[in-house]
Symmetry: C2
């Protein structure tokens, strides 16, 4: 679910509200929920506490005009959860934006790549 770790690597961050950001971490969390059908499970996969994963989902849900994650099937014991149509749309849109941005900045990133990762002497 995470991209291969090569540097430099471009990531998109979407500021949704003051202090609330949607970036690769939350995208992976949504993807994990979609795949595993569980907020707790998706959080575990990302080495995130159960509490933290729920907080992030709540924070995201509050930024939109409809929830992104439907956890009504699950209880605090870790029942099921799924992405709503809006959640799926956001995830798909984020991945599409990432790909479009990557293409748009390819040349600049290649130039940057030649200067990164070789520490300055002295």
């Amino acid at each position: 679910m995470s991209s291969a770790r090569t540097y430099p690597q471009l990531q998109l961050r979407i500021d949704l509200a003051p202090g609330v950001r949607f970036g690769p971490g939350k995208a992976d969390l949504l993807e994990g929920i979609d795949t595993l059908g569980s907020i707790a499970g998706a959080g575990r996969l990302m080495r995130m506490s159960y509490k933290r994963a729920w907080e992030l989902v709540g924070e995201l849900n509050r930024c939109f005009d409809a929830p992104l994650v439907d956890a009504s099937k699950g209880g605090s014991g870790g029942g099921g959860a799924s992405l709503t149509p809006l959640g799926k749309k956001l995830l798909k849109s984020y991945r599409a934006m990432q790909a479009a941005a990557q293409t748009a900045v390819g040349r600049e990133m290649n130039q940057l790549r030649r200067r990164v990762g070789q520490p300055a002497a002295g």
Copy 2:
């Protein structure tokens, strides 16, 4: 120096090394150094401690094959600092990538904009 705060807002983040990121904050810091000729001054403008501003500059300098900021003119008392050619290049390149990415994802962002900022009922 900061962009107007409208939401959602796209930001580029470039992962330079594990745990080291270049994004809007560090771009503004470099821009501040370029404008003010002082790391301490640029940090103050961003409500960042003197120590923190220097740490960020040091962290960035170590990621590239040459320094981004030349602070040799200044001492701990807050002497002058300037961007090196590579520092200017990185800042210019980051702003260009931001503009290119923004254009590339314009349509997706507009769709997203319609769903953000109107909290779900209940």
